[in-house]
């Protein structure tokens, strides 16, 4: 059964230095508040996993929480580059960042394999590209039935997956809808999981297209209204496009970023 508690307690209990951590969300329902709590608690040497590392990963990388990033697209969506990410890759600032780079199809299938209890996934992917030459976790495989050459990628099984959802009931069953990304697979692939929600309600009334993660498949739930900002939670909030644009100059400049970091570290946790 998922335990309902505070964000600070959940992050403190679930995430340790050196863990493999996935904060998933495909531009919708991004668990930004949880990322800020990881920064506040000063976690180090994390292997961060995410298909689309955007602002919150730029922040975690700039804060020096990560030693490695496993990803398929790292940018500020609709704006441009992630400058803390670039500074880490190009200049090892504030600490060196190892990267393990995939395509979306590869990352999605790695989570599916992880959720399915399989060691690897098979896809038609990466063929002809330079990615297999720089990423050790992309290998050719021969179909045992047809002899066809395909591509294998290993399962992703994070120590902890963190996602944001619209709501949970008091038993810790989690309901989410709208763009679902790869969150269900990322939670089921992980050893432990944390779901921040907009609200905890008495009853999860049906919503078109919604999925439910049963309480027994989730480790902890924390109520964090607005916890996806500047991303959004369909039915609760709108994407703050201006914030994405405003992040660019902060991210470009180490000093501006340091000021931002000081403010986040001083915030009282949700």
């Amino acid at each position: 059964m998922a335990e309902i508690g505070t964000l600070a307690d959940a992050v403190g209990e679930l995430i340790a230095d050196g863990d493999v951590v996935a904060l998933e969300g495909f531009t919708h329902l991004i668990p930004t508040a949880a990322g800020h709590e990881i920064i506040r608690q000063g976690r180090r040497d994390l292997t961060l996993v995410r298909m689309t590392p955007d602002i919150v990963y730029d922040q975690l990388i700039g804060a020096g929480c990560a030693r490695k990033l496993v990803f398929s697209w790292g940018g500020n969506p609709g704006v441009g580059s992630l400058h803390r990410f670039r500074d880490a890759v190009q200049n090892s600032w504030p600490v060196p960042l190892e990267i393990e780079e995939h395509s979306h199809a590869g990352m999605a299938n790695r989570y599916v394999a992880g959720a399915s209890g399989l060691p690897f996934a098979v896809l038609r992917g990466y063929v002809g590209t330079d990615l297999p030459s720089v990423t050790a976790t992309i290998k050719p495989i021969t179909c045992p039935f047809t002899g066809e050459e395909l591509t294998a990628v290993p399962a992703l099984n994070p120590d902890v997956t963190v996602i944001h959802a619209q709501r949970a009931d008091r038993d810790g069953n989690v309901q989410l809808w709208g763009l679902l990304g790869v969150q269900k697979e990322a939670v089921l692939a992980a050893r432990r999981s944390l779901v921040t929600v907009e609200e905890v309600v008495d009853e999860l009334t049906p919503v078109p297209g919604a999925i439910v993660l049963p309480s027994w498949a989730v480790t902890k739930v924390a109520e964090v209204p607005g916890g996806a900002h500047p991303s959004y939670a369909q039915g609760y909030s709108e994407r703050d496009n201006a914030y994405y644009a405003a992040w660019d100059p902060i991210s470009r400049d180490r000093e501006e970023f340091a000021n931002w970091l000081r403010e986040v570290r001083e915030e009282v946790p949700a």
């Binding site: 697209w73 002809g128 763009l179």
Partner: protein, 250 residues
């Protein structure tokens, strides 16, 4: 009506789409063009976004691949594994509509690193996203890209998405099912692969662009089709639809 070269590019790219084509749409220039096509001559286009939407019908340009309007106006909203495994991989999509940071003579696309080596790049770009498999599995691929001698190069620094490799026959040898890039639209003109060599050849110049402009903005000795076409300038209807889409997204 006066117009910019970016507007000409968006209009030329929109005109390339038609009917009920199923289009896998990259964000940015491709999304602008695909939405313009749907708002003008091709209302029945099926727009597929990698965030997991089939048949999105936004009335403004989405701010990102995960803009809520893509889900709210879609025929179906699905997970990301599903969009790649069930819809893209088996060949259900007609056109992959992609952008590029760097594009080469054989239509290979780089969105990963520029300069230096992979581990010490001069510029670290966002990376692959969905593009490698879009370029592999769609029936054909259209690329829309602003053209400079730095973006249009003899050979990309990194092959993020495979075009025609080093020439004719490479895709077949690798077992890729789609035809790869069949059309490249820039702010200066239109390129298509030569049927014999798969090298990109200039087939059309946009109105007001000189051949020398294209040569200056191409990083290889560009070949020109024997019968060079002229892209008609944007119509008033196209321009006002494009500007309305952009205005609505502000």
């Amino acid at each position: 009506m006066t117009y910019t070269s970016d507007e000409m590019m968006a209009v030329a790219a929109a005109r390339a789409l038609s009917g009920r084509q199923r289009v896998f749409v990259g964000i940015g220039l491709p999304s602008t063009a695909a939405n313009l096509a749907r708002r003008t001559h091709a209302p029945d286009l099926v727009l597929v976004y990698e965030s997991g939407t089939l048949g999105s019908k936004p009335d403004r340009l989405p701010a990102s691949i995960g803009d809520g309007i893509l889900a709210e106006t879609a025929d179906a909203v699905i997970s990301v594994p599903e969009v790649f495994n069930y819809w893209l991989q088996p060949g259900r999509i007609d056109v992959g509509f992609l952008g590029a940071a760097q594009l080469d003579r054989f239509g290979n696309i780089n969105t990963t690193v520029i300069g230096g080596d992979y581990h010490h790049p001069k510029v670290r770009l966002p990376g692959a996203g969905g593009a490698p498999e879009i370029a592999a599995s769609c029936r054909e691929v259209y690329v829309v890209v602003r053209q400079t001698s730095r973006s249009f190069v003899e050979r990309v620094d990194f092959v993020t998405s495979f075009g025609h490799g080093t020439g004719k026959g490479d895709r077949e040898r690798l077992g890729l099912r789609g035809a790869g890039p069949t059309l490249v639209i820039t702010d200066l003109g239109v390129f298509r692969p030569d049927p014999d060599t798969s090298e990109l050849v200039l087939t059309d110049l946009h109105e007001g662009v000189a051949l020398d402009d294209v040569r200056a903005a191409t990083g290889w000795d560009v070949k020109v089709a024997p019968e060079l076409g002229r892209t008609p300038p944007p119509t008033a209807e196209e321009l006002s639809a494009l500007r309305a889409l952009k205005e609505a997204s502000k």
